[in-house]
Symmetry: C2
Subunit: 419 residues, 2 copies
C-alpha cells in the first residue's frame, strides 16, 4: 500500500486546540494604543464573535459545525501517501509520508479555514469580506468559500505576486471575488503580506457590512487547520505506523505547519520542524517580541518571532512565506524548544521540488517545496545513520499556478536572492 | 454522503475491451499506400508489439500489469462525487454524479494511458518517445509517465496552444520532457492535433530507439481509460444507485469519453452522450469514412467520423478537442445509434464551467467544460419532466492550467468563434 484514504464520515468532528498543551502559558495580544490586553470588543470590528471566542479559547477540543463538514466533504479526508518512489530514489531506509492537501478545490490547505471563516461570518450577518493574499493560495481559497455562502469578497493581492501569478488572480475572479494589487496607495512598491493586511483591515474597519478574514497567523486560523494532523495521525495508524519520528511543515504565517504538527505537540518523542525561506528567516533570525501583524500598525500587537513589521522581504516565488512575523502559537513552541526551525535558500527548494515531481508525480507549490526539501534532508540524514525513521510532511499545495517559477528554475534564471 | 472512494486494491485489475460489444463488427485500419488492412508489422515502427496486440484484440478483458497498477495507485481509484450543490442551484430532481479524474498528478484522465504506454515501451526497449499535444493535457501526462520509466520524451505542441498555454509547456519541462511548437516547418500556422501528429510520427519513423505515443483515438488508448467507467460503476453501486440513466463525456479524439462510457455499452438502457465543440463538429457534422489520422497522410486510414484530415479548426480554448476525426470505436457506436452526439458553442461551455466552479468548487478544463454543460442540460431537462434521472459525467481534468481562457470569459473577451 502507498495510499490511505478515509471515508467522508471520518473527517474530524472537532478541531484540536494546542493552547492547553503549550509548554508555557500563551500571552495575550495587546491593544496598539493602550498596550493593554485586547478584549473581544476590540476585535469585533474585524471578526465575528464566534471566531473571536475561538481565538481566546483554551478548551481542548472545539466542534466543527455540520455546515462546515458538509463543504469539507467535497475533498476531505485528504489522502496520506507514502513516498516510496522518492525513498527509492534517495536510497533511504526512512519511510516518508505526506499528507496531500493539494486535492482541495483551490489546490491548497487554505480552504480548510476559508470554509470555517465564511460560515461563521455568514451566520452572524456579514455580507462582505476583505482579505490579503500573497502568492494567492489564501485568496483563491477564500473566493471558493465565499461563493459557497453568497458573500462578496475583495482581495488585496501583494503586488509582486499580482504581476508574477496572474493565474491565481483569474481563479479568484472565476469564483466571483474582486482582486486589486497592494499596497493600493504605493503603485511602485512590490508589497508584502504585512502591507496587504493593512489595506484589507482599512477597507473593513469603515464598513458595517464587512468583516476581515486572515489566512494564517491567528489562533483560530491554525485551529481550523488541525484537521490535517488529526487525519494524518489516524492514517498513519492504518499504515501500521506508530507515531512519526519527525513532522515537517513549511512556515510563513504558520497555518499549514500548525495544521500538521499541533496534534503531535503532546507526544514528547515526536520532533516538529518548521521550514522557512532563508530570505525571510523569521523563526531562525528574528527576535521574540510583541510586534504588529501589519506594516501600517493597525492590528493588535502579537507576541511572536518577528523581523520587524516594516521588513519587506525580497520577491521570492514562495510569496506565501514572505511574512515578517509568525503565528504566536508557533512562536511560543519554538521559543520553548518544543519545535525546531530551519531555513532554506530558494534554489535548493526548487531542486527538491523537481526531484519530488519526477518521482512522486505531483508538482509542489514553492511554499510546499520548503517542506519537501527539509523532508528529503531528514531522509538523507537517516541514510547516513541507517535509521528507519518515519517522516511525515505536509504537501500543502500544488504548483500548477506557480509554473512561471519553475520556468525560471528550469532555464537557470532563478537565484537564491530573486529580486 | 456526497463522495465515494475505493481503496487502492480496488483499482480494476483488467481493462474492459468494448470491441466484442459493438453492434456491428469493427473495420480494420487500412495501409495508406495499398489500402489493404494493416498488419502488426506495418505498425511496428510506431508502437511496441504489446500495444499493437491490444489495438487489434477482441478479448473481452485485458490484464493491467502490476507495474502499471503500482503507479496508478499514486492517485487511483479516483473519487466519485455527487454534485449536490449544483443540483440545488439548478433545482433539478436529477442526481448528478461526476468521476473526478482531475486528481491525477498531471490533472487529467490522460495519465491513465500514459503510464501504460510508457510501461510497454520501456519493457520492449524503447529509449525515447515522441508525441503530439493540443492543449497540453496529453503532453503533461506522458512527461510524468516517461519520467517514471526513465524514457526521453519530445512533445510536438500545437502552436496555438504553445502560445496560449505556457504553463503546460513548463509542466512538461519540469517532468523532464522537451517541447517544440508544431507544425515545425510552418512557423506562421496555428497548427492542429493532426499536424502535430505528423511531426511526431516523422520524428519517430527514422529512429530505431524511438517510438511514437498517441493520447487518444486508437483502440488501445481508449482501452486504458476504461478504468474510469469500471470504477464509476462500482462506486455508483456504493452510492445505492443502479445503472445511470445517462453517461456524458466530452469528445475530441474520444479517450475520456470511451473511458467513462464503454463499460456501460452492454447495458442497453443506459444512454451514452458524446459532447463536442460546435467549432469542430466531427461526430455531428462530419462524414463516416476512411481518413488519415494526421494532416500529412502518414498514418493508416481509420474508419471514423471525420471533417477531412486537412480541416484546421479555429483556435478555441478547448485545444484538446480540436481534432478533425474521432476514435473508430466511438465513431462505430455513434454510426450504429448506440451513442448520441451533441455540439456546444464555447460561450455556453464557459458559462456552465463557471457555474460548476461556484457550486462544486472545482474549475473544469475547457475540454471538460463540454461535459459539464451537457450534464447541466440533462439535469434541466429532468427538471422539466420531473424525472429523478441519474446522470454520470466524467470530470476529465481541472482548468488550473487554462485560466487564461477563463480570464477571457470573465472579462467578456471570449466569443463562440475564438480566432
Amino acid at each position: 500500500m502507498t495510499r490511505w484514504t478515509l471515508p467522508p464520515e471520518q473527517i474530524p468532528s472537532a478541531w484540536f486546540n494546542v493552547v492547553p498543551h503549550l509548554p508555557s502559558p500563551s500571552q495575550p495580544p495587546l491593544h496598539p494604543g493602550t498596550r493593554e490586553p485586547v478584549g473581544p470588543d476590540d476585535l469585533a470590528p474585524l471578526f465575528p464573535m464566534s471566531l473571536i471566542e475561538q481565538e481566546v479559547s483554551d478548551e481542548p477540543w472545539i466542534d466543527v459545525p455540520g455546515e462546515v463538514l458538509d463543504i469539507l466533504k467535497l475533498w476531505r479526508p485528504t489522502p496520506l501517501q507514502r513516498a516510496r518512489r522518492l525513498e527509492q530514489a534517495l536510497g533511504t531506509p526512512a519511510r516518508i509520508y505526506y499528507k496531500d492537501e493539494s486535492v482541495s478545490p483551490s489546490g491548497s490547505h487554505k480552504t480548510n479555514t476559508a470554509v470555517a471563516q465564511a460560515f461563521y461570518n455568514a451566520g452572524e450577518g456579514t455580507k462582505r469580506l476583505t482579505t490579503e493574499t500573497g502568492a494567492g493560495q489564501w485568496g483563491t481559497a477564500l473566493a471558493f468559500a465565499a461563493a459557497q455562502f453568497g458573500l462578496d469578497l475583495k482581495v488585496y493581492m501583494v503586488r509582486a505576486s499580482y504581476g508574477q501569478k496572474p493565474y491565481r488572480r483569474i481563479a479568484i475572479e472565476t469564483w466571483g471575488g474582486e482582486v486589486v494589487p497592494s499596497p493600493v496607495d504605493e503603485p511602485d512598491q512590490p508589497g508584502s503580506l504585512g502591507s496587504a493586511i493593512s489595506d484589507a483591515v482599512r477597507d473593513c474597519v469603515g464598513r458595517d457590512d464587512t468583516h476581515y478574514a486572515l489566512g494564517s497567523v491567528l489562533n483560530h486560523v491554525l485551529l481550523h487547520q488541525t484537521v490535517i494532523g488529526l487525519e494524518a495521525r489516524e492514517q498513519l495508524g492504518q499504515a501500521g505506523e506508530g507515531l512519526p519520528d519527525v513532522v515537517v511543515g513549511s512556515c510563513g504565517g504558520g497555518s499549514n505547519l500548525g495544521g500538521i504538527t499541533f496534534p503531535f505537540v503532546p507526544d514528547a518523542g515526536v520532533r516538529l520542524v518548521a521550514v522557512e525561506p532563508l530570505s525571510c528567516p523569521t523563526l531562525t533570525q528574528g527576535r521574540y517580541d510583541y510586534d504588529f501583524g501589519d506594516v501600517g500598525g493597525l492590528t493588535p500587537l502579537l507576541p511572536m518571532y518577528t523581523l520587524g513589521h516594516d521588513f519587506v522581504p525580497p520577491s521570492i516565488h514562495a510569496g506565501g512565506l514572505r511574512y515578517h512575523g509568525s503565528s504566536p502559537l508557533v512562536s511560543s513552541l519554538v521559543k520553548d524548544g518544543r519545535m525546531e526551525a530551519t531555513a532554506y535558500p530558494q534554489g535548493k527548494v526548487f531542486e527538491a521540488a523537481v526531484r519530488f515531481a519526477r518521482t512522486e508525480g505531483r508538482i509542489p507549490a514553492p511554499e510546499c517545496g520548503h517542506a519537501v526539501a527539509a523532508a528529503i534532508d531528514e531522509a538523507l540524514a537517516a541514510k547516513e545513520t541507517g535509521a528507519e525513521k518515519v517522516i511525515l510532511f505536509n504537501f500543502s499545495g500544488h504548483g500548477f499556478l506557480d509554473l512561471a517559477a519553475y520556468d525560471d528554475h528550469n532555464h537557470g534564471r532563478l537565484t537564491d536572492e530573486m529580486g
